[in-house]
Amino acid sequence: MTRRKFLKNLAASGFVSGWTPELWSAMPVRPAEQTILLGGTAFALGMALARPTESLVVERGVVLAPEFTLTAGFSRLGAATSEIGRELCAQARRCGLLQGDRIELPPFSDFLASFFSLRGGRCLLETELISVERQNGSWQVGLFPLAIGGLVMTEAADFLDTTDLAWRNLGLDAVSSRHLGAMAREGDIAVELPAATTWRDGRLRLFEEAERKMGRTIISEYAAFKTRYVDSKVGRRMSAGYWWNPSAQYGTFMEAFEAGYAWTMM
């Protein structure tokens, strides 16, 4: 996409000023060569940091690596194998977030935002993916950044979906179960839910379980589902230049991050 076309699209959205100069200057010279990574997941962050100028992470929320940071209070971070992974661990330790191999997840999400942006990673937060279409050998991607409040079209050579169920739930058949957890005074609790469960049903089940077991003493409900997969079905090539590889399939944050860092498009 040419710079002119890009601006024209923005103008059509009616809110040109919403696009910051900083972001514009960070655009790759040829957007058609970029990879769009759907989901600000650990896997996507790792991959984007391996090729910062060629990758654009699109996340619909404001929290990075939600598949880990919003599913538990503490967790094992996992082993770093790359240079950048080791640097991430060292910095997290310096910030007091990492004790032994246990990471305190809620602040870790924000630590990641800082770590990622300072290393040139590009991420659009609060951005909804509207469309992905193959045209003339590349992907035409429609995005709806919330505060711009308009459609922005961009282009990508490759599209990698790292979300739990894939865009439009295309990966639902690979999910064996989902779990919703909460921190209660008496310790963490979790309920197992069907793959296609909704937030409303999941939350209701969780509360019923909490009330049944220990009375109503939930302190904080975790804000993301934990997903389990059927190993043989998870991760796949949807079509030419379009993959789905959910970050939630990995056991720890660092495992997902390192897998993303080492990922190569085939």
């Binding site: 404001v62 209070g73 999400s109 937060l125 409303r200 939350r203 509360f207």
Partner: protein, 574 residues
């Protein structure tokens, strides 16, 4: 699909709207971008002591009868004539187009208005910034208390959205966490907020816009739906608020009542979007000006606005009326039957500690101003009577209130007495000059000029915490467009307010040298702007532009670039 009511945004206001509509038998659709209800009060982590999950589940259980779509982003809206006819949203990549007879936009960011391309009021009135925040929820292990931690900071509207805002906000968040973690070992962070805390990003033009001056003037509201309490929770040290309006300057700076509150009633017409027959806008984007925004920041007021929207929609549908034509008497009785319109406190003005001031006579005003007008941190929160500083603030308020009430004869008599007291030229003269300034009486100008040019003289003694008078003097000189003040004011700018801020610190001003310089520069630049608009001076303008290009290091305690902020406000705004 066809619905009677579409509610966009199921936060504090929208959640209440939906809960109310759930029992009516109407076909209702609720659209929410996050994965639960309650907005700022739940997923936004502003909750003091209450169980957030319990609140969410209570709302969901109460709304069983209506359709709720979570993780839905509204991407388009269409209108024909005076009606919004269709709303489109995307949920997990699938687009849905829905029709609604009434649309209630409770998103807080004028989502429908933006999508329809309506003119909106954006950001702060003076520089277009939004007050963004980074928040998280914490848990005290020892007490079992859940409480929010947050940090607000201003960002330009144009940066609201993309990584510019988000990452900066999150970086603040990290800093906050780091400090917090090291201070409070016995506590634990539960989770970060799932939404950006953004205030004032976009507001509707509604059938009525209420402002601070109107509220203080007691302009009648015949059709109230919300009895709010203006808590004025803006940062006391941030002098930028003085740019908001003359009423803000008088209230916060000249009277010195930044943390004092007063009751405000908001009209039904503040939630009826101008030019539309079926669009209501409860939540923070309703029809209040930025300087009265504090009245709509609290959850109880948000809930009242949501309830009013639900009741109005019900009546409009029952009677087949445009929302603007809903009979107020019926709306009022319905609100009362549902626990709405809770009565505000009847006091005129009260401090945070709950102390209510009584009106002063002229003699009491003079007596109160014949004391050192000082400001201490304790004063703002203390519940005590007869402190000189409180008496002075109340005296100023009395003076201004008389003008607001249009008591011309009483004002003239009081002004003469104030002037004669001022002319005694003693240490209290500047107090009387400021009071005259509140009455827009230009006889105070020479005295104020003396305060700015001759600090530490008999007119401006070094009294602890007496620093506000110097800032007040600058503000008033700008308001009176005093040409003779240009040179001394420009000297302060040229010096980047170093010497001036030093003198403020000698008078025991709060905060660091940088914060004092920020305050001084804010007022001086504002004053110069006001003077130069009326008396243009090319030489000074050129010198100011040159100064603008000069880098200045000015940061607050958390590293926020104050110089950038003040330059943007002074040179780019308005």
């Amino acid at each position: 699909m066809d619905y009677d009511v579409i509610v966009i945004g199921l936060g504090t206001a929208g959640g209440e709207t939906l809960r109310e509509l759930a029992g009516t038998g109407l076909r209702v659709l609720g659209l929410e971008r996050l994965n639960g209800m309650g907005g700022t009060g739940t997923l936004g982590c502003i909750s003091f002591g209450a169980s957030i999950p319990a609140r969410m589940i209570d709302l969901e259980r109460a709304c069983k009868a209506v359709t709720i779509v979570y993780e839905a982003t509204v991407i388009a809206a269409r209108s024909i004539g005076r009606c919004v006819t269709e709303v489109s949203y995307v949920a997990n990549g699938v687009r849905f187009d829905v029709l609604g007879r009434i649309v209630i936009d409770a998103s807080g960011e004028a989502t429908v208005g933006r999508l329809l391309g309506l003119p909106l009021r954006r950001g702060c009135s003076f520089d277009g910034t939004v007050a963004s925040g980074a928040r998280a929820e914490s848990w005290q292990k020892s007490s079992g208390e859940i409480r929010p931690i947050y940090r607000n900071f201003p960002m330009p509207c144009s940066e609201h959205s993309l990584e510019g805002l988000a990452n900066q906000a999150l970086m603040w968040h990290v800093r906050r966490h780091q400090g917090w973690l090291s201070r409070e070992k016995g506590s634990r962070l539960l989770r970060p907020s799932l939404m950006m805390g953004v205030r004032e990003s976009a507001r509707y033009w509604t059938e009525r816009i209420q402002d601070l001056e109107g509220a203080l003037r007691d302009v009648p509201v015949e059709d109230p739906i919300i009895h709010a309490w203006e808590p004025e929770d803006l940062p006391v040290y941030d002098s930028a608020y003085a740019f908001e309006s003359k009423a803000t300057q008088n209230w916060k700076v000249l009277c010195g009542l930044p943390l004092f509150g007063f009751p405000v009633s908001l009209s039904y017409r503040t939630i009826v979007v101008r030019g539309f027959d079926n669009l209501l806008c409860p939540s923070r984007h309703l029809g209040v000006s930025h300087d009265l925004g504090g009245a709509m920041r609290m959850q109880s007021q948000m809930r009242q606005s949501g309830l009013a929207a639900a009741c109005a929609a019900e009546i409009a549908l029952e009677r087949n009326l445009p929302v603007g034509a809903v009979p107020y008497a019926e709306l009022r009785s319905r609100l009362l039957s549902k626990g709405g319109l809770t009565v505000a406190r009847k006091s005129d003005v009260t401090s945070c500690g709950g102390y209510v001031f009584e009106p002063y006579s002229d003699d009491q005003v003079i007596g109160a101003l014949r004391q050192d007008v000082v400001r201490t941190p304790e004063w703002w929160y203390a519940k005590s009577e007869n402190r000189p500083c409180e008496q002075a603030a109340w005296a100023y308020w009395n003076v201004w209130k008389r003008k607001l009430r249009g008591d011309a004869k009483g004002v003239a008599a009081l002004a003469d007495r104030l002037q004669s007291e001022m002319n005694r030229c003693d240490r209290y003269s500047v107090n009387f000059a400021v009071a005259l300034g509140l009455l827009d009486d230009a006889r105070c100008v020479p005295m104020l000029r003396n305060v700015v040019t001759a600090c530490n003289s008999v007119l401006d003694p070094v009294v602890e915490r007496a620093f506000p008078n110097r800032l007040k003097a600058i503000l008033l000189l700008g308001r009176f467009a005093d040409v003779a003040s240009v040179a001394p004011l420009f000297e302060i700018v040229e010096d980047d307010a170093r010497a001036f801020a030093d003198r403020l610190l000698q008078a025991k001003a709060f905060g660091s040298l940088d914060m004092c310089r920020y305050q001084a520069l804010s007022y001086v630049l504002m004053a110069l702007r006001n003077i130069l608009i009326r008396h243009p001076d090319k030489g000074v303008l050129q010198a100011l532009r040159a100064w603008r290009e000069r880098p200045i290091l000015l940061r607050d305690a958390e590293g926020y670039d104050l110089a950038r902020r003040i330059k943007r406000i002074a040179f780019d705004a308005g």
